[in-house]
């Protein structure tokens, strides 16, 4: 920051100095050079933070404004009067408590299911020899090429035939198999040596015992990282929920918000922003606490 003021003082106090004259031939280059790379980097990053994080600040500030103030021109930065009641109001204009509960149930249950099934399959694929395991694994990997978005029409019709539309099992079960999870756990188990397992095998421990008491405790960091990633993904998963649910009592926060948007139109941005704040809050809290795990899980595959 101190370096920022240097060019101005140099020019003002010693304009006649020979090197200053030489510098004047390339004023922009000089100024950029004087604005040291470190300071320049901060300037760029602060602008970037305003662009990338600013909207969330704006969301929170708006969520405390009155409807009129949210729409007023010129816009105010801080609310003139803090309307905390926007947050209670959102629970009366829509069953937001139900939405919240549904999102929590769906995200937590799906995450738990993903962890258990992925850990089991990852362990089997990495540690157990059985006929066809390679072929099955390759088929699973190939399924990675099939995004859910491509197959949703028959999938939703299948859920309808099962009577699973507008139900928790319909929102949860189809999302439980996680190829990414299987793959991450397989990678993880392959990364540590088999000696401990071999020792416990000699001691007579069966497959279940080896998986549950020997390998799983060592996998705790991987489980944590995957759990966080999975929770965020499942909390945010809008498209599937949007199609699988038509009844208000099974709406999740995301689906409920779109409903709120279409019914309350343009004059209630303060309420919409309160709703968005509530939708983002759990993910944001998880992110603050588990930032390291999220980032390492996402970038871990490349290391």
């Amino acid at each position: 920051m101190t370096e920022l003021s240097v060019p101005g003082t140099t020019r003002a106090t010693a304009p006649a100095a020979p090197h200053a004259v030489a510098r004047r031939k390339r004023p922009l280059g000089t100024r950029l050079r004087r604005l040291s790379p470190a300071a320049l980097r901060h300037v760029i990053l602060i602008v970037a933070v305003i662009v990338f994080f600013g909207p969330f600040v704006w969301m929170v500030l708006t969520s405390f404004k009155s409807s009129a103030e949210a729409l007023s021109f010129p816009p105010t930065f801080l609310p003139k009067v803090w309307h905390f009641d926007n947050y209670s109001q959102i629970f009366t204009v829509a069953p937001f408590g139900t939405y919240y509960l549904n999102s929590t149930i769906v995200a937590v249950a799906t995450t738990a299911g993903q962890i258990v099934t992925s850990l089991a399959a990852g362990f089997a694929f990495s540690r157990l020899r059985f006929r066809g395991s390679t072929i099955i694994f390759v088929v699973l990997l190939a399924a990675l090429l099939v995004p859910f978005e491509v197959v949703f029409t028959p999938l939703i019709s299948l859920l309808s035939q099962l009577g699973w539309l507008n139900s928790y099992q319909g929102l949860i079960v189809p999302n439980v198999p996680s190829i990414l999870g299987v793959f991450l756990f397989k990678q993880f188990f392959e990364s540590f040596p088999t000696e401990i397992e071999d020792a416990s095998r000699v001691d007579g421990a069966g497959v279940w015992r080896r998986m549950w008491s020997v390998v799983t405790p060592m996998a705790t960091p991987m489980i944590g990282a995957f759990a966080v990633l999975s929770f965020v993904y499942n909390w945010n998963n809008f498209f599937f929920q949007f199609l699988a649910v038509t009844k208000t009592e099974f709406f999740t926060v995301s689906v409920g918000l779109t409903q709120l948007q279409s019914t309350n139109a343009a004059d209630s941005f303060n309420l919409l922003m309160a709703g968005s704040t509530l939708a983002i809050l759990p993910v944001f809290l998880v992110y603050i606490v588990f930032q390291k795990q999220i980032i390492s899980a996402m970038s871990g595959g490349l290391r």
């Binding site: 990338f52 089991a120 491509v150 197959v151 028959p154 779109t258 490349l302």
Partner: protein, 320 residues
């Protein structure tokens, strides 16, 4: 193992080897095999039921006039659905929109992501905070952040139009006029995706040995030269990986379109997935929807195969 030297070890092994360990190994394998199948069963069965089966159905339905509302299979119509798609102005429009979207969003997001990753490559004060804040748009629920954008860009009280007004410009209908609506959706998607690209590029950059940079610095290379001569060539595999996942992701854009513009104005922001959704769930043209889905799938597979060919399979599988 040289048996001639260590005869004490070799003898029991040779004596016991043929009958017992073979038998024991088979039982272990049988036990492990049964457990193995049991352990992979949940994932495999659920995946078969909820992904592979609908996938086969999608391909099958694409040759029929299936109506999802009736629950009946529909009659075989051959390639009529596919032929129809290419004569369907609406589909061609959405395909064009998706094309524009992919061509703009993917490279721009990657460029900005790489730029931030490079800025944050060396440790300095505040680096962690900058990185954390720049990443937030990526993890925030897309419905929530789309709503924020719909407010920020609104002509009523939106801060962007407010600022434009203060500078003496007429308000712009960012979300309900062409070409602004598509531009807005594109800008939103770039804003939303940069954080992810930044994190992946950061991981790739941190894998470059520090000594490369030190050697180049000794040779007189500045930071910009070092970036283009060392960092950039070494992150090419990551670049390829992110391009593929970016393209596949961009082919499936839906939520931000649905919330920001509802596909309008005049279908100018509708994407292929939006078309599939409408055909399948609004008009109940299951056959047409499936045919479009098959095309989208084929496109994704082609892109992935190209990636496998060019970059080898490791990078693809590791993060998808």
């Amino acid at each position: 193992m040289p048996s001639a030297i260590d005869s004490t070890q070799a003898r029991p092994a040779r004596a016991a080897a043929p009958p017992r360990p073979a038998g024991r190994r088979r039982t272990t394998e049988q036990i492990e095999g049964r457990s193995g199948y049991a352990l992979i069963a949940p994932t495999t069965i659920l995946l078969a039921l909820f992904y592979l089966y609908p996938l086969v159905q999608t391909v099958g339905y694409s040759f029929t006039n299936w109506n999802p509302a009736t629950g009946q299979t529909g009659a075989f119509v051959g390639g009529a659905n596919f032929a129809g798609l290419f004569q369907n102005a609406e589909f061609l429009k959405t395909a064009g929109n998706t094309g524009i979207y992919v061509v703009v969003v993917v490279p721009v997001t990657m460029a900005i992501g790489l730029f931030f990753a490079a800025l944050l490559a060396q440790p300095f004060r505040g680096r962690g905070l900058y990185r954390a804040l720049l990443f937030v748009p990526y993890i925030a629920p897309i419905v929530g952040s789309s709503l924020i954008f719909s407010f920020i860009l609104s002509p009523l009280g939106g801060i962007v139009n407010g600022t434009l007004g203060a500078l003496g410009f007429a308000p712009i209908g960012f979300l309900n006029s062409t070409p602004w609506a598509l531009i807005s959706v594109i800008v939103f998607s770039i804003w939303q995706g940069v954080g992810y690209q930044m994190i992946i590029f950061s991981a790739a950059l941190s894998n470059i040995p520090q000594s490369y940079h030190e050697a180049a610095t000794l040779d007189g290379a500045g930071p910009i030269r070092r970036f283009f001569s060392i960092s950039l060539p070494l992150v090419v595999p990551t670049l390829g990986f992110l391009a593929i996942t970016g393209i596949i992701g961009a082919l499936q854009v839906f939520t931000q379109v649905y919330i920001l513009t509802g596909g309008g104005p005049l279908r100018s922001t509708e994407t292929i997935l939006y078309f599939i959704y409408q055909q399948g769930f609004v008009y109940f043209h299951g056959g047409t929807a499936s045919a479009a889905a098959v095309l989208l799938l084929a496109l994704g597979i082609i892109v992935s195969v190209v990636q496998l060919r060019i970059l080898g399979r490791r990078d693809t599988i590791e993060l998808t």
